[in-house]
Protein backbone atom coordinates (compact mmCIF):
# COMPACT_ATOMS: atom_id res chain seq x y z
CA UNK A 1 0.00 0.00 0.00
CA UNK A 2 1.24 3.41 -0.97
CA UNK A 3 -0.07 6.88 -0.20
CA UNK A 4 -0.04 8.91 -3.36
CA UNK A 5 -1.17 12.24 -4.85
CA UNK A 6 -4.51 12.08 -6.62
CA UNK A 7 -2.96 13.18 -9.93
CA UNK A 8 -0.41 10.37 -9.69
CA UNK A 9 -3.01 7.78 -8.78
CA UNK A 10 -5.23 8.65 -11.71
CA UNK A 11 -2.22 8.85 -14.06
CA UNK A 12 -1.82 5.09 -13.48
CA UNK A 13 -5.15 4.46 -15.23
CA UNK A 14 -4.62 4.05 -18.98
CA UNK A 15 -7.15 4.84 -21.70
CA UNK A 16 -9.30 1.78 -22.34
CA UNK A 17 -9.13 0.60 -18.72
CA UNK A 18 -12.04 -1.12 -16.97
CA UNK A 19 -13.08 0.62 -13.76
CA UNK A 20 -15.34 -0.51 -10.98
CA UNK A 21 -16.64 2.58 -9.23
CA UNK A 22 -18.37 2.70 -5.85
CA UNK A 23 -21.57 4.57 -5.15
CA UNK A 24 -25.32 4.41 -5.45
CA UNK A 25 -26.79 7.48 -7.13
CA UNK A 26 -23.43 9.17 -6.40
CA UNK A 27 -23.70 8.53 -2.65
CA UNK A 28 -20.41 6.84 -1.78
CA UNK A 29 -18.83 7.56 -5.14
CA UNK A 30 -15.19 8.73 -5.12
CA UNK A 31 -15.94 12.27 -6.29
CA UNK A 32 -12.37 13.57 -6.33
CA UNK A 33 -11.16 10.62 -8.40
CA UNK A 34 -13.98 11.10 -10.89
CA UNK A 35 -13.12 14.78 -11.23
CA UNK A 36 -9.48 13.94 -11.83
CA UNK A 37 -10.39 11.35 -14.49
CA UNK A 38 -12.27 14.11 -16.29
CA UNK A 39 -9.39 16.58 -15.82
CA UNK A 40 -6.88 14.10 -17.24
CA UNK A 41 -9.27 13.32 -20.10
CA UNK A 42 -9.13 9.51 -19.98
CA UNK A 43 -10.81 7.85 -22.97
CA UNK A 44 -12.59 4.66 -23.90
CA UNK A 45 -13.27 3.59 -20.31
CA UNK A 46 -15.41 0.63 -19.29
CA UNK A 47 -17.37 1.47 -16.16
CA UNK A 48 -18.84 -1.20 -13.89
CA UNK A 49 -21.08 0.39 -11.26
CA UNK A 50 -24.59 0.35 -9.90
CA UNK A 51 -25.80 3.31 -11.96
CA UNK A 52 -24.66 6.37 -13.91
CA UNK A 53 -26.21 8.76 -11.36
CA UNK A 54 -27.53 11.98 -12.86
CA UNK A 55 -26.18 14.33 -15.53
CA UNK A 56 -22.98 15.86 -14.22
CA UNK A 57 -23.24 14.15 -10.82
CA UNK A 58 -20.90 11.36 -9.69
CA UNK A 59 -20.37 8.85 -12.50
CA UNK A 60 -22.63 11.10 -14.61
CA UNK A 61 -19.62 13.40 -15.00
CA UNK A 62 -17.72 10.68 -16.86
CA UNK A 63 -20.72 10.14 -19.13
CA UNK A 64 -21.11 13.88 -19.70
CA UNK A 65 -17.42 14.19 -20.65
CA UNK A 66 -17.86 11.22 -23.04
CA UNK A 67 -15.04 9.26 -21.48
CA UNK A 68 -17.01 6.01 -21.27
CA UNK A 69 -17.40 3.59 -24.17
CA UNK A 70 -19.02 0.76 -22.19
CA UNK A 71 -21.08 0.68 -19.01
CA UNK A 72 -22.13 -2.43 -17.09
CA UNK A 73 -24.80 -1.09 -14.74
CA UNK A 74 -28.23 -1.83 -13.33
CA UNK A 75 -29.88 1.55 -13.76
CA UNK A 76 -29.56 4.53 -16.10
CA UNK A 77 -33.11 5.86 -15.69
CA UNK A 78 -32.12 9.09 -13.96
CA UNK A 79 -29.45 10.01 -16.47
CA UNK A 80 -30.91 10.98 -19.88
CA UNK A 81 -27.38 11.58 -21.19
CA UNK A 82 -26.53 7.91 -20.73
CA UNK A 83 -29.69 6.96 -22.59
CA UNK A 84 -29.00 9.43 -25.41
CA UNK A 85 -25.43 8.20 -25.91
CA UNK A 86 -26.67 4.62 -25.81
CA UNK A 87 -29.37 5.24 -28.43
CA UNK A 88 -26.85 7.14 -30.58
CA UNK A 89 -24.59 4.09 -30.48
CA UNK A 90 -21.79 6.01 -28.78
CA UNK A 91 -22.01 4.13 -25.51
CA UNK A 92 -22.51 0.41 -25.13
CA UNK A 93 -24.69 -0.35 -22.12
CA UNK A 94 -25.08 -3.79 -20.53
CA UNK A 95 -28.01 -3.69 -18.13
CA UNK A 96 -27.76 -6.21 -15.28
CA UNK A 97 -30.21 -6.80 -12.43
CA UNK A 98 -28.78 -5.06 -9.40
CA UNK A 99 -28.52 -8.14 -7.21
CA UNK A 100 -26.92 -10.09 -10.04
CA UNK A 101 -24.46 -7.28 -10.74
CA UNK A 102 -23.17 -6.94 -7.19
CA UNK A 103 -22.97 -10.70 -6.80
CA UNK A 104 -21.05 -11.12 -10.10
CA UNK A 105 -18.57 -8.53 -8.83
CA UNK A 106 -18.31 -10.34 -5.51
CA UNK A 107 -17.71 -13.63 -7.34
CA UNK A 108 -14.84 -12.00 -9.22
CA UNK A 109 -13.29 -10.81 -5.99
CA UNK A 110 -13.90 -14.03 -4.08
CA UNK A 111 -12.45 -16.38 -6.69
CA UNK A 112 -15.75 -17.91 -7.84
CA UNK A 113 -16.45 -18.52 -11.52
CA UNK A 114 -19.82 -16.83 -11.44
CA UNK A 115 -23.14 -17.09 -9.69
CA UNK A 116 -26.27 -19.20 -9.99
CA UNK A 117 -29.34 -17.01 -9.74
CA UNK A 118 -33.01 -17.42 -10.58
CA UNK A 119 -33.33 -13.70 -11.17
CA UNK A 120 -33.89 -13.15 -14.88
CA UNK A 121 -35.06 -16.69 -15.68
CA UNK A 122 -37.93 -16.43 -18.18
CA UNK A 123 -37.07 -12.82 -19.11
CA UNK A 124 -34.92 -11.06 -21.70
CA UNK A 125 -32.03 -11.29 -19.26
CA UNK A 126 -31.62 -15.03 -19.81
CA UNK A 127 -30.93 -14.70 -23.54
CA UNK A 128 -27.72 -16.39 -24.61
CA UNK A 129 -26.89 -17.52 -21.11
CA UNK A 130 -25.88 -20.91 -19.77
CA UNK A 131 -28.39 -22.52 -17.40
CA UNK A 132 -27.78 -25.03 -14.65
CA UNK A 133 -30.31 -27.10 -12.74
CA UNK A 134 -29.65 -27.56 -9.03
CA UNK A 135 -32.14 -29.39 -6.84
CA UNK A 136 -34.69 -29.36 -9.64
CA UNK A 137 -34.66 -25.59 -10.06
CA UNK A 138 -33.21 -23.64 -13.02
CA UNK A 139 -30.59 -21.00 -12.47
CA UNK A 140 -28.75 -18.69 -14.84
CA UNK A 141 -24.97 -18.92 -14.82
CA UNK A 142 -23.94 -15.28 -14.57
CA UNK A 143 -20.17 -14.99 -15.00
CA UNK A 144 -17.90 -13.28 -12.49
CA UNK A 145 -16.79 -9.71 -13.16
CA UNK A 146 -13.28 -8.41 -12.61
CA UNK A 147 -11.78 -5.01 -13.45
CA UNK A 148 -8.42 -3.38 -13.96
CA UNK A 149 -9.13 -0.78 -11.27
CA UNK A 150 -11.52 -0.34 -8.36
CA UNK A 151 -12.16 3.28 -7.43
CA UNK A 152 -13.34 3.21 -3.84
CA UNK A 153 -14.70 5.87 -1.53
CA UNK A 154 -14.33 5.13 2.18
CA UNK A 155 -15.48 7.17 5.13
CA UNK A 156 -12.48 6.21 7.23
CA UNK A 157 -9.06 4.80 6.38
CA UNK A 158 -5.96 4.28 8.46
CA UNK A 159 -2.50 4.91 7.03
CA UNK A 160 -2.06 1.20 6.35
CA UNK A 161 -5.14 1.20 4.13
CA UNK A 162 -7.72 -0.44 6.39
CA UNK A 163 -11.14 0.93 5.44
CA UNK A 164 -14.57 1.44 6.87
CA UNK A 165 -17.67 2.95 5.33
CA UNK A 166 -20.54 4.99 6.72
CA UNK A 167 -24.30 4.58 6.49
CA UNK A 168 -25.66 4.12 2.95
CA UNK A 169 -22.30 4.98 1.37
CA UNK A 170 -21.09 1.41 1.84
CA UNK A 171 -23.10 -0.01 -1.08
CA UNK A 172 -20.71 -1.32 -3.81
CA UNK A 173 -17.46 -0.07 -2.23
CA UNK A 174 -16.27 -3.02 -0.10
CA UNK A 175 -17.30 -5.46 -2.84
CA UNK A 176 -15.47 -3.79 -5.74
CA UNK A 177 -12.38 -3.41 -3.52
CA UNK A 178 -12.01 -7.20 -3.74
CA UNK A 179 -12.53 -7.48 -7.50
CA UNK A 180 -9.89 -5.39 -9.26
CA UNK A 181 -6.20 -5.73 -10.06
CA UNK A 182 -5.47 -2.31 -8.61
CA UNK A 183 -7.47 -0.69 -5.81
CA UNK A 184 -7.38 3.11 -5.45
CA UNK A 185 -9.07 4.59 -2.39
CA UNK A 186 -10.18 8.09 -1.61
CA UNK A 187 -11.12 8.33 2.05
CA UNK A 188 -13.04 11.16 3.68
CA UNK A 189 -10.87 10.76 6.80
CA UNK A 190 -7.48 9.16 7.33
CA UNK A 191 -6.48 8.21 10.86
CA UNK A 192 -3.41 6.70 12.52
CA UNK A 193 -3.00 2.93 12.46
CA UNK A 194 -4.75 1.24 15.37
CA UNK A 195 -7.53 3.81 15.65
CA UNK A 196 -10.10 1.74 13.75
CA UNK A 197 -11.15 -1.24 15.87
CA UNK A 198 -10.37 -4.57 14.16
CA UNK A 199 -14.09 -5.45 14.23
CA UNK A 200 -14.96 -2.23 12.38
CA UNK A 201 -12.55 -2.62 9.50
CA UNK A 202 -14.67 -3.62 6.50
CA UNK A 203 -11.88 -3.79 3.92
CA UNK A 204 -8.47 -5.07 5.02
CA UNK A 205 -5.43 -2.99 4.08
CA UNK A 206 -3.79 -5.85 2.23
CA UNK A 207 -6.12 -5.52 -0.75
CA UNK A 208 -5.64 -1.74 -1.09
CA UNK A 209 -2.92 -0.55 -3.47
CA UNK A 210 -3.13 3.24 -3.31
CA UNK A 211 -4.56 5.61 -0.73
CA UNK A 212 -4.95 9.14 -1.98
CA UNK A 213 -3.11 11.71 0.12
CA UNK A 214 -5.23 14.15 2.09
CA UNK A 215 -4.97 17.77 0.97
Amino acid sequence: MQTILISEAVAKIPDGASLMIGGFMAVGSPGRIIDELVRQGKRDLTVIANDTAMPNLGIGKLIHARLVSKAIVSHIGLNPETQQQMIAGELQVELVPQGTLIERIRAGGYGLGGILTATGVGTLVEEGKQKVTVGGKDYLVEPALHADFALVNAFLADYLGNLSYALTARNFNPVIAMAADTVIVDADNVVPVGVIAPDHVMTPSSIVDYLIAQE
Partner: protein
Protein backbone atom coordinates in the same frame (compact mmCIF):
# COMPACT_ATOMS: atom_id res chain seq x y z
CA UNK B 1 -59.40 10.51 -2.21
CA UNK B 2 -57.09 10.48 -5.23
CA UNK B 3 -56.11 7.24 -6.98
CA UNK B 4 -52.64 7.07 -5.48
CA UNK B 5 -53.94 7.49 -1.94
CA UNK B 6 -56.55 4.76 -2.43
CA UNK B 7 -53.84 2.38 -3.60
CA UNK B 8 -51.33 3.29 -0.88
CA UNK B 9 -53.91 3.09 1.91
CA UNK B 10 -55.18 -0.28 0.73
CA UNK B 11 -51.68 -1.74 0.47
CA UNK B 12 -50.90 -0.49 3.98
CA UNK B 13 -53.55 -2.95 5.19
CA UNK B 14 -51.27 -5.77 4.02
CA UNK B 15 -48.57 -4.75 6.50
CA UNK B 16 -48.05 -6.88 9.60
CA UNK B 17 -46.08 -6.23 12.76
CA UNK B 18 -42.36 -7.04 12.41
CA UNK B 19 -42.42 -7.35 8.62
CA UNK B 20 -39.40 -6.45 6.50
CA UNK B 21 -40.75 -4.49 3.54
CA UNK B 22 -39.21 -2.87 0.48
CA UNK B 23 -41.10 -0.08 -1.27
CA UNK B 24 -40.40 0.84 -4.89
CA UNK B 25 -40.42 4.42 -6.09
CA UNK B 26 -43.66 6.21 -6.98
CA UNK B 27 -46.95 5.11 -5.40
CA UNK B 28 -45.28 2.34 -3.34
CA UNK B 29 -43.26 4.92 -1.38
CA UNK B 30 -46.52 6.42 -0.10
CA UNK B 31 -47.45 3.18 1.66
CA UNK B 32 -45.02 4.19 4.44
CA UNK B 33 -47.35 7.10 5.27
CA UNK B 34 -50.18 4.75 6.24
CA UNK B 35 -48.58 2.22 8.58
CA UNK B 36 -51.27 1.39 11.15
CA UNK B 37 -50.66 3.04 14.52
CA UNK B 38 -48.67 0.92 16.96
CA UNK B 39 -47.38 -1.39 14.28
CA UNK B 40 -43.61 -1.68 13.76
CA UNK B 41 -42.65 -2.36 10.17
CA UNK B 42 -39.01 -2.47 9.01
CA UNK B 43 -38.51 -0.69 5.72
CA UNK B 44 -35.50 -1.73 3.69
CA UNK B 45 -33.93 0.70 1.31
CA UNK B 46 -31.99 -1.39 -1.21
CA UNK B 47 -29.02 0.98 -1.19
CA UNK B 48 -28.22 -0.50 2.19
CA UNK B 49 -30.50 0.38 5.09
CA UNK B 50 -33.12 -1.28 7.25
CA UNK B 51 -34.99 1.12 9.50
CA UNK B 52 -35.48 4.00 7.11
CA UNK B 53 -37.09 6.89 8.96
CA UNK B 54 -38.83 10.03 7.85
CA UNK B 55 -37.34 12.85 5.81
CA UNK B 56 -34.98 14.73 8.14
CA UNK B 57 -35.81 18.13 9.55
CA UNK B 58 -34.08 21.12 8.00
CA UNK B 59 -30.37 21.03 8.83
CA UNK B 60 -30.55 17.53 10.34
CA UNK B 61 -29.48 15.40 7.38
CA UNK B 62 -26.23 13.71 6.41
CA UNK B 63 -25.06 13.36 2.81
CA UNK B 64 -24.24 9.66 3.35
CA UNK B 65 -27.67 8.65 4.67
CA UNK B 66 -30.14 8.53 1.79
CA UNK B 67 -32.81 6.42 0.17
CA UNK B 68 -32.25 4.56 -3.09
CA UNK B 69 -33.00 7.74 -5.02
CA UNK B 70 -30.26 9.66 -3.21
CA UNK B 71 -32.68 11.71 -1.10
CA UNK B 72 -31.82 12.31 2.59
CA UNK B 73 -33.57 10.09 5.11
CA UNK B 74 -33.25 9.40 8.82
CA UNK B 75 -32.63 6.09 10.56
CA UNK B 76 -34.85 4.79 13.35
CA UNK B 77 -33.38 3.38 16.58
CA UNK B 78 -32.40 -0.21 15.75
CA UNK B 79 -31.60 0.62 12.14
CA UNK B 80 -28.75 -1.11 10.37
CA UNK B 81 -26.69 -0.49 7.26
CA UNK B 82 -24.99 -2.94 4.91
CA UNK B 83 -23.41 -3.32 1.50
CA UNK B 84 -25.28 -4.11 -1.71
CA UNK B 85 -24.41 -7.82 -1.65
CA UNK B 86 -26.13 -8.16 1.74
CA UNK B 87 -29.00 -5.96 0.60
CA UNK B 88 -29.77 -8.26 -2.30
CA UNK B 89 -29.04 -11.33 -0.24
CA UNK B 90 -31.94 -10.25 1.94
CA UNK B 91 -34.10 -9.76 -1.15
CA UNK B 92 -33.07 -12.83 -3.15
CA UNK B 93 -32.79 -15.11 -0.14
CA UNK B 94 -36.46 -14.83 0.81
CA UNK B 95 -35.87 -12.68 3.90
CA UNK B 96 -37.96 -9.83 2.57
CA UNK B 97 -41.54 -10.38 3.69
CA UNK B 98 -43.08 -8.08 1.12
CA UNK B 99 -42.13 -5.84 -1.75
CA UNK B 100 -44.42 -3.20 -3.21
CA UNK B 101 -43.59 -2.29 -6.79
CA UNK B 102 -45.14 -0.24 -9.57
CA UNK B 103 -46.35 -1.96 -12.73
CA UNK B 104 -46.67 -1.25 -16.43
CA UNK B 105 -48.71 -4.40 -17.11
CA UNK B 106 -49.98 -7.33 -15.07
CA UNK B 107 -51.60 -10.17 -16.97
CA UNK B 108 -54.39 -12.62 -16.21
CA UNK B 109 -51.99 -15.20 -14.81
CA UNK B 110 -50.28 -12.65 -12.58
CA UNK B 111 -47.19 -12.06 -14.63
CA UNK B 112 -45.57 -8.66 -14.29
CA UNK B 113 -43.95 -6.26 -16.75
CA UNK B 114 -42.56 -3.15 -15.11
CA UNK B 115 -39.08 -2.36 -16.27
CA UNK B 116 -38.93 -1.40 -19.90
CA UNK B 117 -40.87 -0.25 -22.94
CA UNK B 118 -38.54 -1.27 -25.76
CA UNK B 119 -37.57 1.66 -27.96
CA UNK B 120 -39.15 4.13 -25.57
CA UNK B 121 -38.09 3.67 -21.97
CA UNK B 122 -34.93 1.72 -21.15
CA UNK B 123 -34.00 2.81 -17.63
CA UNK B 124 -32.51 -0.53 -16.57
CA UNK B 125 -34.16 -2.96 -14.22
CA UNK B 126 -32.29 -1.79 -11.13
CA UNK B 127 -33.49 -4.00 -8.29
CA UNK B 128 -36.92 -4.78 -9.78
CA UNK B 129 -36.12 -8.25 -11.11
CA UNK B 130 -34.52 -9.39 -7.86
CA UNK B 131 -37.36 -7.94 -5.82
CA UNK B 132 -40.11 -9.47 -7.97
CA UNK B 133 -38.32 -12.86 -8.06
CA UNK B 134 -37.08 -13.00 -4.50
CA UNK B 135 -39.48 -11.36 -2.07
CA UNK B 136 -41.82 -13.65 -0.15
CA UNK B 137 -44.80 -11.61 -1.27
CA UNK B 138 -45.00 -9.31 -4.30
CA UNK B 139 -47.66 -6.61 -4.26
CA UNK B 140 -48.12 -4.35 -7.27
CA UNK B 141 -49.37 -0.78 -6.92
CA UNK B 142 -50.64 0.34 -10.31
CA UNK B 143 -53.24 2.61 -11.78
CA UNK B 144 -55.91 0.42 -13.36
CA UNK B 145 -55.72 2.07 -16.76
CA UNK B 146 -53.39 4.32 -18.75
CA UNK B 147 -54.79 6.58 -21.45
CA UNK B 148 -58.07 4.70 -21.15
CA UNK B 149 -56.47 1.30 -21.73
CA UNK B 150 -56.42 -1.45 -19.12
CA UNK B 151 -53.05 -2.26 -17.59
CA UNK B 152 -54.43 -5.56 -16.30
CA UNK B 153 -54.08 -7.32 -19.65
CA UNK B 154 -54.80 -10.75 -21.11
CA UNK B 155 -51.13 -11.35 -21.71
CA UNK B 156 -48.17 -9.06 -21.14
CA UNK B 157 -46.93 -7.52 -24.39
CA UNK B 158 -44.03 -5.78 -22.65
CA UNK B 159 -40.94 -7.73 -21.52
CA UNK B 160 -41.52 -9.61 -18.27
CA UNK B 161 -39.79 -8.67 -15.04
CA UNK B 162 -39.95 -12.21 -13.73
CA UNK B 163 -41.56 -15.49 -14.69
CA UNK B 164 -42.92 -15.78 -11.16
CA UNK B 165 -46.52 -14.56 -10.74
CA UNK B 166 -47.22 -11.70 -8.37
CA UNK B 167 -49.32 -12.20 -5.25
CA UNK B 168 -51.55 -9.16 -5.19
CA UNK B 169 -52.49 -6.27 -7.46
CA UNK B 170 -53.97 -3.11 -5.99
CA UNK B 171 -55.37 -0.39 -8.24
CA UNK B 172 -57.59 2.62 -7.53
CA UNK B 173 -60.53 0.44 -8.62
CA UNK B 174 -59.83 -3.03 -7.30
CA UNK B 175 -57.82 -5.63 -5.44
CA UNK B 176 -56.94 -8.65 -7.56
CA UNK B 177 -55.21 -11.91 -6.59
CA UNK B 178 -54.14 -14.85 -8.76
CA UNK B 179 -55.15 -18.15 -7.17
CA UNK B 180 -54.45 -21.06 -9.52
CA UNK B 181 -53.00 -18.61 -12.04
CA UNK B 182 -56.31 -16.78 -12.69
CA UNK B 183 -56.95 -13.07 -12.05
CA UNK B 184 -59.62 -13.00 -9.35
CA UNK B 185 -61.42 -9.92 -8.11
CA UNK B 186 -61.20 -9.71 -4.32
CA UNK B 187 -62.32 -6.17 -3.57
CA UNK B 188 -63.58 -3.03 -5.22
CA UNK B 189 -62.78 0.53 -4.16
CA UNK B 190 -65.52 2.40 -2.27
CA UNK B 191 -68.11 3.63 -4.77
CA UNK B 192 -66.86 1.42 -7.58
CA UNK B 193 -69.05 -1.43 -8.84
CA UNK B 194 -67.94 -4.85 -9.97
CA UNK B 195 -69.24 -4.04 -13.44
CA UNK B 196 -67.13 -0.91 -13.59
CA UNK B 197 -64.03 -2.92 -12.72
CA UNK B 198 -64.82 -5.60 -15.28
CA UNK B 199 -65.46 -2.98 -17.93
CA UNK B 200 -62.11 -1.30 -17.22
CA UNK B 201 -60.22 -4.59 -17.37
CA UNK B 202 -58.85 -6.34 -20.46
CA UNK B 203 -57.94 -9.56 -18.64
CA UNK B 204 -60.71 -12.10 -17.98
CA UNK B 205 -61.54 -11.56 -14.31
CA UNK B 206 -62.87 -14.32 -12.09
CA UNK B 207 -65.64 -12.68 -10.06
CA UNK B 208 -66.63 -14.59 -6.92
CA UNK B 209 -70.13 -14.37 -5.52
CA UNK B 210 -69.00 -12.04 -2.80
CA UNK B 211 -66.66 -9.16 -3.59
CA UNK B 212 -65.76 -7.00 -0.60
CA UNK B 213 -65.26 -3.25 -0.54
CA UNK B 214 -61.77 -1.96 0.35
CA UNK B 215 -61.63 -1.15 4.04
CA UNK B 216 -60.03 2.28 3.67
CA UNK B 217 -61.05 5.60 5.13
Amino acid sequence: MDAQTVIAKRIALELRDGMLVNLGIGIPTQVANFVPTGMRVFFQSENGLIGTGAVPDEGMHHRLLTDAGGRPVTALPGACTFDSAMSFGLIRGGHLDMTVLGGLQVDSSGRLANWTIPGKMVPGMGGAMDLASGAKRVVIAMQHTAKGKSKLVKQCTLPLTTARPIDLLVTELAVVAFPEGRATLLETAPGVSVDQVVAATEAALVVPDHVAVMNIQ
